[in-house]
């Protein structure tokens, strides 16, 4: 892609994001569409978030307890699992699964609506397709991803508990007391601030790619692939940047 095209693409993305932000607080409000999208993005993603989080929690607990065991410190497994999941791994793992499932779905749905002239029809009927199609998706995504992250964190911690108690033979009550110690305001803030931004970015990128789809089935494939790749990379880069910013404001040493 030429530099000029890249900047044009970025400009379009920023304009779309700005229109969504402004449009969220302006009439008409598409409440029914937003609720439908919340159901698709939130309730529909529950199973994949549950599975991914459970196995990540179990794998993390297994790795940490094995390493700590050689140092005679495996009773601290709960603390390390708790901090890792709540602050970092939970939000990122859930966001990546979400981008794969919901983001790709948004791109392919909007892309096929563009190619099938349905978006044109919305414009012909005198409506704003950004307001009608994009805003409900971005709003629902921004609200549902934090909720899914909380669920994912809880499931991952439960998975960690299972391994700690039944595979690593640690005390369950001590594991949970370590987790409760890890639930500080700073850690919760660090873990819950991220999904709001991840949800917004994933939906905005996916909708932008969907609305830019051109050139039949091949164009749709390209748009969907680009949306997932861009969302994934953006989530990981944003995660690092947010972590740095949060650490700075919480005065945590790097």
């Amino acid at each position: 892609m030429k530099l000029r095209e890249l900047f044009a693409e970025l400009q379009d993305f920023y304009v779309l994001s700005l229109n969504v932000l402004v449009g969220t607080f302006r009439r008409p409000y598409y409440v029914r569409e937003t609720v439908e999208q919340m159901d698709y993005a939130g309730a529909g993603s529950f199973f994949i978030v549950f599975l991914v989080s459970l196995f990540i929690g179990m794998a993390l607990s297994l790795q940490i307890s094995t390493e700590l065991s050689s140092l005679g410190l495996k009773m601290y497994t709960g603390k390390i699992v708790g901090i890792s999941i709540i602050r970092e791994i939970g939000p990122v793992a859930v966001a990546l699964s979400y981008a794969g499932r919901v983001g790709s779905g948004m791109t392919s749905e909007l892309g096929s609506m563009v190619l099938g002239h349905q978006v044109d029809m919305i414009r012909v009927f005198g409506m704003d397709p950004v307001k009608k199609l994009v805003t409900p998706r971005v709003v629902s995504s921004t609200l549902m991803l934090p909720l899914l992250t909380v669920i994912g964190d809880a499931v991952a911690l439960a998975g960690g508990y299972y391994i700690s108690v039944f595979a690593s033979h640690q005390s369950g009550s001590f594991y949970w007391s370590q987790i409760i110690d890890a639930l500080t305001f700073d850690n919760i803030l660090a873990g819950l601030a991220k999904p709001f931004l991840f949800g917004f970015l994933t939906a905005a990128i996916s909708c932008h790619m969907g609305l830019s789809a051109r050139g039949g089935a091949r164009g749709l494939r390209r748009a969907t692939t680009s949306a997932v790749v861009l969302s994934t990379v953006t989530i990981i880069i944003t995660d690092f940047m947010l972590t740095r910013v949060l650490f700075f404001f919480m005065e945590m040493p790097a």
């Binding site: 044109d120 029809m121 012909v124 009927f125």
Partner: protein
Amino acid sequence: MIEFRDVSFSYNHGKVLQGISFSARFSEKIAILGPSGEGKTTILRLILGLLRPDSGRILIDGTDITDLPERELREFRTKFTIVFQEGALFDSLSVQENVVFCLRERRGMPEAEIEARARELLRRVGIEEAIGLMPEELSGGMQRRAAIARSLCSCEPVMMLYDEPTTGLDPAAADNICRLINDLSSGEPPERKGIIIVTHDVAAAVKVAERFLYLRAGRVVFDGDLSALKGTEDPGLREFIKGILK
């Protein structure tokens, strides 16, 4: 009145329209003919303001819409409605929901009244029995009929635009669609609506239109009525319309 003044348009792959000019009254029945890829559909999209020309001006009722912002264009779009080639029905909505899409969006209308309007429109296009079906359960011809019903439900258009309405249909279904288009464009205003039909199906065009424009190499090379069309000396156009010369 629609006026195109020296309008040019290009896609990434090259120029499609090269300085075309024509005008059309809202009550006219016009067919834009030409082989695929000559920019026929592009003209419809330009009329609706869905695309912006590279150069030239487009006027609707005397107002230059070429550079109007999207918000102001919406007001002009309500004068028209379009039936796209494949119908462009919303596949997540039932036929009824598709037909009354515009009414629902405007809100404030009681649900019973909306349903009655959907039934009336579907009866008018001859597919009342399909009211509860989903678009994928309809045949090609029924999908176009549902799309026409939806277009009639939009903001009382004065002119209907049809993009290849008979393409891909069997002769009987194509004939039915032509009859329906004629029904909708006959009578007295406001019931009578002007039409612009874009097609390479000349037989269908002569059934519904009174004025014909022929596009070649991005230019309007013929503009006239049926007798002028049949009497053309242009060998390319004669070849194109040979089906109706027999």
